[in-house]
């Protein structure tokens, strides 16, 4: 059984517009999947359905065997979602209070909460900012905080919606480094972006979306030729020899 199974997923807006049509794919444990496509291709709606925030018009989402539409609360413990706008997701008055928010909602004991918040601060390098107001953090730090928020409740899968948007070069490096570390420690990463060049060196699966449908999916190098027709352009298309050199990370 795959960690995430999506079968014939469709979503129609109340005005009748189709946002998703017959979307099916699977994600394996420990993989790094990139979902790309032009604006309005249904990527954000797809993530919200996977997180159980929106009920699909038809189709089925199973996260580690749990039906996301029927048991959204349980599904969210397994599937953490980092929103595109960090400010929407940050609710705490300080960095550590913000990380604690999700844990408190799951009802963990105070001892566990304290340890887990400390772990997340260390993991994301935010310990020096623990008592700082989140609004005073930089873009990259805010994004790392939202990753810490989501990872605090230990989901097996972490999905990120355009995590590099609005970030400067150091900000992109901080976030990318974090994601690669998470993936190396065994977490499944799903990343929605149209900025393929930043992430392809680390991804193993690519899903291309166009007009609410999956246009192509599979291993990165095999799927990449279809990218241009889905509104995703790359300055240079990598080969098996050059793809690893595309990384933005030095290590």
């Amino acid at each position: 059984m795959s960690q995430l199974e999506v079968r014939d997923l469709s979503y129609r807006f109340p005005d009748g517009t189709h946002a998703l049509q017959q979307v099916s794919f699977t994600v394996e444990e420990g993989s790094f999947t990139v979902i790309a496509g032009r604006n309005g291709s249904g990527k954000t709606i797809l993530l919200r359905i996977l997180n159980g925030l929106i009920k699909p018009t038809s189709g089925d989402v199973r996260i580690e065997g749990i039906d996301a539409a029927a048991h959204p609360y349980e599904a969210r413990k397994k599937f953490g979602l980092v929103f595109q706008q960090a400010d929407s997701q940050i609710v705490g008055q300080t960095v550590s209070r913000d990380i604690a928010f999700g844990l408190e909602n799951t009802g963990v004991s105070k001892e566990v909460l304290k340890v887990r918040v400390q772990q997340m601060l260390e993991m994301t390098g935010l310990t020096p900012h623990a008592h700082q107001r989140p609004r005073t953090l930089s873009g990259g730090e805010k994004r790392r905080l939202t990753i810490a928020d989501v990872m605090a409740v230990s989901p097996g899968i972490i999905a990120l919606d355009e995590p590099f948007s609005g970030l400067d070069y150091p900000g992109v490096l901080q976030v990318l480094h974090q994601l690669v570390q998470l993936n190396r420690s065994g977490h499944t990463v799903i990343l929605v972006t149209h900025d393929l060049e930043k992430v392809l060196a680390h991804a193993d699966t690519l899903i291309l979306m166009d007009q609410g449908r999956i246009a192509a999916q599979g291993p990165v190098l095999e799927t990449l030729p279809a990218a241009a027709s889905c509104g995703v352009r790359m300055r240079r298309v990598p080969t098996a020899e050059t793809i690893r050199d595309m990384t933005w990370l030095n290590d």
Binding site: L53, R76, Q85, S88, V91, N105, D149
Partner: protein, 240 residues
């Protein structure tokens, strides 16, 4: 994102910030009642008490001035309409001072008390009547207070964006007001939707409160001081 100051909680280390939210809520409730019921001498004492609080809380008064302009204008309207209606300028002045004092008390409360702490205090107050209703009221208060900055930021962003596009303030004011209100409403609804999804995604539950209350000696002292001030203000009523 814009950084508005007014009606935002600011995490500072001052005696007022360290107080238990219940003592501040109690003081705020009594002050508000007294503002509306005391004659001018009592009102002046309450104003003095609130002003002392503002200084102790370290509120950046200069920065607040511009953002408080709206309330100043409103106080002026109250003064003019009451003066026009009653022909008694002193009574009109007291009316607008009462309004400004209430605004200052509200600013002091939101500046020094986090939304989480306000929710905890409200829950503590209402829990004896109905736990479920208390959770609901506390969660609603928390969300509402947390949402203030979003509204203020949206208003500021939109008004600055329109200004940068050469919008004339005095040209067709009614049309401008309608267009701007619609735009602000659109942005606020969008952000509210995004925030509600994010909260749901993070497992937000109405029946789980965040943080904890701790009543200390400083709270008892604060209540004693407040009672002293309230008594003095009430005595001012009795002394002819």
């Amino acid at each position: 994102m814009a950084e508005r100051l007014i009606f935002h909680y600011h995490d500072r280390d001052t005696p007022l910030h360290r107080l238990d939210p219940r003592s501040k809520m109690f003081a705020m409730a009594v002050l508000t009642i007294m503002v509306f019921n005391l004659p001018p001498a009592g009102l002046l004492l309450i104003m003095l008490y609130t002003a002392t609080g503002i200084i102790i809380a370290g509120m950046p008064i200069r920065e607040y001035r511009r953002e408080s302009l709206f309330f100043g204008m409103f106080a002026l309207i109250i003064f003019l309409t009451r003066w026009w209606g009653s022909s008694m300028p002193l009574e009109a002045l007291i009316g607008s001072l009462r309004f400004l004092t209430i605004v200052l008390i509200g600013m002091l409360m939101t500046e020094t008390t986090s939304p989480d702490d306000m929710a905890l205090a409200l829950f503590w107050l209402l829990r004896r009547f109905s736990r479920r209703a208390a959770y609901g009221a506390a969660a609603r208060l928390n969300l509402t207070v947390s949402f203030f900055p979003v509204i203020f930021d949206a208003v500021q962003e939109i008004s600055e964006a329109r200004k940068s596009r050469q919008e004339q303030r005095l040209r067709r004011p009614l049309q401008r007001m309608i267009s701007m209100s619609t735009q602000i409403l659109d942005v606020i609804i969008d952000r509210a939707e995004e925030i509600s999804y994010a909260l749901e995604s993070r497992g937000f539950r109405e029946d789980i409160l965040h943080g904890e209350l701790s009543w200390g000696r400083r709270d008892t002292l604060f209540l004693l001081l407040s009672t002293l001030c309230f008594t003095a203000a009430t005595a001012a009523v009795l002394i002819p």
